[in-house]
């Protein structure tokens, strides 16, 4: 994803778009795609909006604790016409505990995905490999990601979704922590159950052949943005299963081979 594209909008427009996204997130009111008003928006511009959003949330006291990779499956990448994942930041305010009830009235149209998360113990910066990522990983563990596009009808283009923090909304770490060399993450099978029925099935290799590959590419995108991945970051590698839409009363359980399971329920 090239971030050295020309900037097509000025700083004021970036700030205005970031405020629009933040308001939609805060009040759970959908907005139209940013590209409808800024048709020339580039990917570089979109990440400028995402960064402005991040700074705004930090000013309000939220702490960035990590990142997520999105668009990590081959079909999704082909659909969006990209060759690297999109990234989004995660703050402490987005975290929900396993076995909790997650409120949905403060989201627009939440969907849940099962992922593998990496917790790092060394800084990662610049262009790194899958092996570099594994060497900088303290442990991996299961995670659920609740995504929520702020755009009407969950319909967006690449620029709009990146500006919208890659649809990040909530995340739930859980299951069993495991050292990255203790298990082949490619063949970790994942079953996502929706109200007790199997809804989605996949394995770790669904994420760019290996989840650590997505983290390596995420570090590359951060480098393009002038950022590094600090030691102690919590990073989600991307969806192993397709997303499942949830409503109040629903329960979701994700079961991971040798890594335990996570259950959450959803409430008004």
């Amino acid at each position: 994803m090239s971030l050295d594209q020309p900037k097509t909008v000025d700083e004021e427009a970036i700030i205005r778009m970031a405020e629009r996204v933040e308001t939609a997130q805060r009040y759970a009111v959908p907005i139209r795609k940013l590209t409808e008003d800024y048709p020339d928006l580039t990917i570089a511009d979109a990440y400028r909006v995402q960064t402005a959003l991040r700074r705004n949330l930090e000013k309000k006291g939220e702490r960035v604790i990590g990142w997520k990779a999105g668009l990590t499956s081959k079909p999704k990448m082909a659909q969006m016409g990209v060759s690297t994942p999109g990234v989004g930041f995660l703050t402490d305010a987005m975290e929900r505990p396993a076995n909790s009830k997650i409120t949905v009235s403060d989201m627009i149209h939440p969907r849940v995905e099962a992922e593998i998360a990496f917790v790092t113990n060394k800084e990662l910066s610049g262009k790194v490999t899958r092996e570099d990522v594994l060497a900088a990983t303290d442990y991996v563990q299961p995670a659920l990601e609740v995504i929520d596009s702020r755009f009407t009808g969950f319909k967006f283009d690449l620029e709009s979704v990146l500006a919208d923090n890659s649809s990040s909304a909530r995340y739930v770490p859980g299951g069993r922590m495991i050292r990255p060399d203790a298990l082949d993450l490619r063949t970790v099978g994942v079953v996502l159950e929706h109200n007790g029925e199997i809804a989605q099935i996949g394995a770790g290799a669904e994420v760019l052949g290996h989840p650590a590959e997505a983290i390596a590419m995420l570090v590359g995108v951060l480098d393009d943005m002038g950022e590094v991945l600090p030691a102690g970051s919590f990073v989600m590698a991307g969806a192993i299963t397709a997303a499942v839409a949830v409503k109040p009363g629903d329960s979701i359980t994700a079961r991971f081979y040798e890594m335990g399971s996570i259950t959450v329920t959803f409430t008004e």
Partner: protein, 266 residues
Amino acid sequence: MLDSTKIESLGDALYDALRSGRPTQKISALEPESDIEDAYRIQLRMLERRLEAGDEVVGKKIGLTSRAIQDALGVYQPDFGQVTKRMLFEDGATIDLSKLMQPRLEGELAFRLKEDLIGPGVTVTDVIRATDYVTPCFEIVDTRYQDWQIKIQDTVADNASCGVFVLGEAKADPRDLDLSLAGMVIEKNGEVVATGAGAAVQGSPVMAVAWLANTLGRLGIPLKAGEIILSGAQAPLLAVTDGDHFTCEIAGIGACEMRFAGRAMV
């Protein structure tokens, strides 16, 4: 219920299609009133012809195990076919596509039995006890009809659309791993093309084998020690072509591999 003359001629037509590579007409079109029981009798006739030609039964395959395929056919239970010695290829084999009609590839877990399993009344515990080992396996499904737009009686009559299969060398004791959550990764020419897990097969491949033992038991057919049971596809069906190299890896067991060469007949 079709009379035995019809059953015989439909089974013979499928056998002739298998041998010649020229598609035969669908049972559902020729005999719209035919049911699944008729279809299994046709399957048996086709099998008799193979055995007369010197082949022998080495096991069974379970089909229609995934929710996606069941939704497509509107049938909410699996089916089965019989697998023979001439359908069996070893790990690393190259499959000659010119001997197949419209092949597609599936990744599965195969069970090798060390004890007979005689239903009804077979439980998952019995299946585990009777299993010698499990191994990754490719099933190359094929159809002896004009296309894959088939109904339940078509696939059942056509030996559950079985073509050939490649049995892995990597083995595991089923008690040593979680067969429901063990992930499967299929790579084509070094790229991941499909993933899945055992849960795709009736919740667990062990449950599919128990289903088969009980279904066959009601028909008076035992699963015998030494037989190989193909438990059903864990990942989406894949297209294949000349020169393709595939690997199928299952967590806690290992991988098997195979190649394709030549061009399919239809």
